[in-house]
């Protein structure tokens, strides 16, 4: 429900006229009319006064949230919290991936630095076919 509709509903529930509300808030009747038609919006200060006059919370007046209506509030908060948790999880996963990649790069860089070209190694000629062959150890 929009603010203008809420203002009309609450005023009627309190059985107040626009003039009575205007006097209570120290504004003109036209101002009340403009708020209730949506032509203008009350200031924060006046909204607080309206909420006191109508006996509702400011949140209820502005957002239309009924007191104790946690499902309405939760429905907007929970997905946000879930999204936040998801983002944190994603960020952590990326950080771990980046760390693993970084460690691998360091290891690879180290390998690159100390590597010796096969051509530069001391060599002997061997007979590959007559060599004893041993398999790799199965993990």
């Amino acid at each position: 429900m929009e603010l203008k509709d809420k203002l009309i509903k609450l005023r009627k529930e309190k059985r107040l006229s626009q003039i009575e509300v205007a006097e209570a808030l120290n504004v003109s009747r036209q101002a009340i009319s403009r708020w209730e038609t949506g032509a203008a919006a009350p200031s924060t200060e006046k909204l607080i006064e309206l909420s006191r006059l109508y006996g509702v919370s400011l949140d209820e007046l502005v957002n239309g949230v009924e007191p104790g209506d946690e499902s309405a509030a939760g429905s907007s908060v929970q997905p946000r919290a879930r999204r936040r948790r998801l983002l944190i999880a994603l960020a952590l996963a990326l950080a771990i991936l980046a760390a693993v990649t970084g460690v691998y790069m360091l290891w690879r860089g180290e390998r690159d630095e100390i590597a010796t070209d096969f051509e530069d190694l001391p060599k002997i000629t061997v007979d590959l076919d007559s060599m004893e062959a041993v398999p790799w150890v199965e993990e």
Partner: protein
């Protein structure tokens, strides 16, 4: 989503992408092979099947042997029967060989001692 979180997320994503792009796929180790063998005195053994290696690829040997005073060589045998090797030192061999020519290579261990030598470790290629 908070602006700070967005920035952190973007930074992490960028970091990861940059790192991914700077690691050439060809240089990644294809496999790790485990070695656990006893090499007879004055003999040379080749371990496992031939490794198909390309120019620039690295083969890292991390092995320990016993007795530590034994004279042991670790290396690769190329397709033209050349055994290029490193000598172990004090019971350890930790070396990396860069392949100069694409081909099939065999990892091999030579025991120059007069007693059997037990070798365990890993070869990353």
């Amino acid at each position: 989503m908070g602006g700070r979180m967005k920035r952190a997320f973007s930074l992490l994503l960028s970091l990861y992408l940059i790192m991914s792009l700077t690691v050439p796929a060809a240089a990644s180790p294809k496999a790790t092979a485990r070695v656990d063998v006893t090499v007879r005195p004055d003999s040379i053994v080749r371990i496992g099947a031939g490794l198909s290696l390309e120019t620039g690829e690295l083969v890292t040997v991390n092995c320990a042997y016993s007795p530590r005073i034994a004279e042991v060589d670790f290396g690769l045998v190329s397709a033209n029967n050349e055994f290029g090797y490193f000598s172990g030192n004090d019971g350890i061999c930790s070396e990396t060989i860069r392949i100069s020519k694409t081909g099939i290579y065999y990892f091999a261990i030579r025991n120059n001692s007069e007693e059997p030598v037990g070798v365990t470790g890993y070869v990353y290629y």
